[in-house]
């Protein structure tokens, strides 16, 4: 369940680990995401095509990782509205994500710093599937505007 408490820059601690966030990828989520980014790749959108592919099924678009990564940030509390603007992002797509995969994302606060009077937070995230296999590693640096 989402935590309604607001997270402030001051209370984030370097090394802090957020509560692991669980997310189940569904066909519906994949279809909606692909439509929202106007990507008609049949490997995401066409089940018949997915069946005949190397993967034997449709897969989630790699950048749909955004869906569970952004909600993983909210597992310890809400980020204030308009607070976090991305400045740098790294994704390592290790394995494809399939419909029905149960994903767990762990977020660690790797660093926080003030530069030119601006506050920045560097998060590192690892997402594993139901077999414990890493599927996506990611890093994100945000500019904390509040």
């Amino acid at each position: 369940m989402e935590n309604e408490k607001m997270i402030s820059f001051e209370e984030l601690e370097i090394g802090q680990k957020f509560k692991p966030h669980e997310f189940t990828m569904t066909k519906d989520t994949i279809f909606k995401y692909a439509e929202a980014v106007s990507d008609s790749n049949p490997l995401y959108c066409d089940e018949e095509n997915g069946k005949n592919s190397f993967y034997g099924s449709i897969i989630a678009p790699p950048t749909s990782a955004a869906i569970y990564i952004i909600s993983a940030f909210q597992s310890e509390g809400k980020i204030p509205p308009g607070a976090a603007v991305h400045t740098r992002q790294k994704f390592e797509f290790i394995k494809p994500v399939f419909p029905g995969d149960q994903l767990v994302t762990s977020v660690t606060v790797k660093n926080k710093f003030v530069k030119m009077e601006r506050k920045y937070v560097f998060f590192e995230m690892t997402t594993v599937n139901q077999n414990g296999e890493p599927v996506v590693n990611s890093e994100i640096t945000v500019f904390w505007t509040q």
Partner: protein, 146 residues
């Protein structure tokens, strides 16, 4: 997975400096709202013009992770199964993307090397707006068949 082989581009056919076919997208508030719904990121900076008008951006902006989906689409178009796993994307965000912008994702082959029986191809990638301002720049690494 089944017995089919992954659909990979041939390493030998990739030349340094080669340009990837571009992906062009028109951004509207409706697209931003749809992405917010699909990704679950309903931050008012993206979807509430009144709130967003009071922030440093003086208006709504697209989610950064919407823009990187266009880079991913371009990479998947070119590298096929060499993009969905074993790939990496590292991006810096430079300027906001606003409703009304036309975004072009582009890429160029920067480095190619072989490692562990696989071809590894590193591309310089960017998204620019209609004024030719870079909104994001970075690198994307995909696999190719040796």
């Amino acid at each position: 997975m089944n017995s089919r082989r992954p659909n990979l581009i041939k390493f030998a056919e990739i030349e340094l400096g080669m340009e990837l076919p571009e992906v062009k997208k028109q951004i509207t508030q409706e697209i931003i709202n749809k992405y917010a719904q699909a990704s679950g990121d309903m931050n008012p900076q993206h979807v509430d013009p009144e709130f967003a008008g009071q922030t440093v951006f003086k208006g709504t902006i697209a989610h950064g992770l919407l823009t990187i989906a266009y880079i991913s689409e371009m990479m998947a178009n070119f590298f096929k199964d060499g993009w969905y796993s074993g790939s990496v994307m590292e991006i810096s965000f430079h300027a906001p993307v606003r409703p009304g912008d036309t975004i072009t994702a582009s890429g160029r082959i920067k480095t190619k090397k072989s490692s562990g029986g696989r071809g590894i191809v590193i591309c310089k990638v960017a998204c620019t707006n209609q004024d030719n301002t870079s909104v994001i720049t970075g690198t994307a690494t995909a696999l190719a068949e040796l």
